[in-house]
Point group: C2
Chain length 352, copies 2
């Protein structure tokens, strides 16, 4: 364990009235920051995945809306709110699958509509967006405590994509559970799926864990079955982009296959996600919109063609893991167990 | 269907007394040929995967042994056979998992030992190696006929890695089944797993199918579960590197996970492999040696580091799919069905 275990990776910050984002498209080779002073650039940063991860894009959208409010010039409150709504819609539409985006934007819009004065609303948007940013880290630490209790004192864990500090305001969801376990003295070894096509596991999770001194081995996505079959894996922990009322969970493409493989090997499959990731209005995962991204993400690495030219590829960014493959969902309110329709309904009731 | 459906991709040829290999490390971007005139270079070409695929490396090793025989200078028959055995061992050790390699080399060595004269042996090695090369294509065509009968008239098939013309002397095993189905008028759409880390699906299978005018869409290895869940997939067809007496099947890493996912979705999982891929002496797949390759194949693309420096990665080249996940094994002697210990024992008895 190195001394920088608790060093804070700060993917999103509010610096001198601007959003400062760690450019995740360039990690781990270069650590670059992008400064954003208007909502359209915030939406673009979400689309192009300069910032990614459900909680992180929620926080970025909230700050983006605060920027929209600050710069909006309108003849009165209603016209101001109309302008704000355009930014809200633009931010929500940046990416369709993670519900944290619309959750964050809608929370701010609802608050905005409760205030009578434009100047008050402008200040509230900034204050509240910053509060959400700070809250997110605390939520992850609490989630980490709950989740860490599920891990054996010495364990080997598979994770997929990046549900770490980089996917949040800091600390992480799935990796937050791992951080909390390590901080509590547990001995955790992580196997990180590289996570094609964008390699978030190789580029972000491995980097983040190495920076934190947590042992990590990268595997290609197709190795998890062999790993479970030829060695001991204690559990899988992943994040989530949207969880339906029955527990069906949208997360990075490949999560569903990993859950099938975990079930086949009787390996517990945990989802770690804040309450903001639940879409209580969706009965099942069938209605979760799945973002289709440019097939060039599959066929090319940066500008390098990997296969023949004119190659056809499929590129859904997410898949849906049915609730029956999920062992437990770790939230900041505690660990939800099956039947999830009941435990999620209880969570919703507490949340109201 | 284009006019070049039946065009022969010739990955291995015997030209002017040399082995001519299509350099598969450079496909699909450049079509280059490597000429080899000694057994050590043949072994190196197998190791470095200039030629790959179980039947193809078997054929290459046979031709390599013929080259060793041709150039060997020894004071008598015994000394000649000793020299030949050194080459045989070197060729067998080039890669450990595919049994076709030792099958081919041992077949030639046994024949060599039946002849009294060195000059006769030298000629026999060449004749027999060329016969194996030609036989392999015929075997694949016969296997294709048997396998094609399993496919619906219109079907969507997932394949993994490359078990095509490029993995054999021509026509292919798994892709041979698909070719035969298409030639018989069936409408086949192929989804090719890209097959990390070396991307044989993206680089070889997609190229080969596109050259043959067979519709192909590339997916990352982690998409097969979502594909089976959100659309109709009629079957999976893969090749094999070694099949134990109980039907346990070693094949490219990722095959086992794909088989687990296919079973979860009740999708038939077919293995297509010639009789030379069976290791009748191995009771189960547990004893199949699994080649571990350089972790840099995972962490780098050519010379480009994908993740952070000093990244640890795991890189087994193969995994073992237990027989209970295999629906049928397609061979040139017909389609084997479970219980495989019986059907494979029958195959062995016929083969003796």
């Amino acid at each position: 364990m190195t001394s920088n275990l608790n060093s804070d990776i700060e993917p999103i910050a509010w610096v001198n009235g601007r959003i400062r984002l760690l450019d995740q498209t360039r990690l781990p080779h270069s650590v670059n920051w992008v400064e954003i002073d208007n909502w359209r650039d915030a939406a673009d940063a979400i689309k192009t995945m300069i910032v990614r991860g459900a909680p992180a894009i929620g926080c970025t959208a909230a700050l983006g809306l605060a920027l929209a409010g600050r710069s909006a010039i309108a003849p009165g409150r209603e016209a101001f709110l109309d302008k704000l709504q355009i930014a809200a819609d633009g931010l929500c539409n940046a990416r369709p699958t993670a519900v944290n985006l619309s959750w964050a934007v809608n929370r701010l819009m609802c608050l905005a509509r409760t205030l009578p004065e434009v100047t008050e609303i402008k200040q509230l948007l900034i204050d509240e967006a910053l509060r959400m940013l700070n809250e997110d880290i605390q939520i992850n630490r609490t989630m980490g405590q709950y989740g860490a209790a599920l891990l054996p004192d010495s364990c080997r864990v598979i994770t997929h994509c990046n549900a770490g500090a980089l996917a949040t305001a800091g600390y992480g969801t799935a990796l937050g559970v791992i951080r909390a376990a390590v901080e509590s003295g547990k001995n955790v070894t992580v196997f990180a799926d590289e996570t094609r096509p964008r390699l978030q596991g190789m580029k972000l999770t491995a980097w983040e864990l190495m920076e934190s001194g947590i042992p990590v081995t990268v595997i290609t996505d197709n190795m998890s079955a062999a790993l479970m079959n030829t060695s001991v894996i204690d559990c899988v922990i992943v994040g989530a982009d949207r969880i339906a009322a029955n527990g069906d969970t949208a997360n990075k493409i490949g999560t569903y296959g990993l859950a099938v493989i975990a079930r086949h090997h009787n390996v517990p499959f945990y989802v770690a996600a804040p309450v903001s990731t639940f879409d209580f209005n969706l009965a099942t995962g069938a209605a979760i919109p799945i973002e289709q991204r440019d097939p060039a993400e599959v066929t090319h690495l940066d500008d390098i063609a990997l296969g023949p030219s004119n190659l056809t590829a499929w590129n859904p960014a997410f898949d849906v893991t049915p609730a029956e493959l999920v062992t437990a969902i770790i939230t900041e309110r505690g660990v939800l167990k099956p039947p999830f329709s009941t435990s999620i309904a209880n969570l919703q009731n507490e949340n109201q």
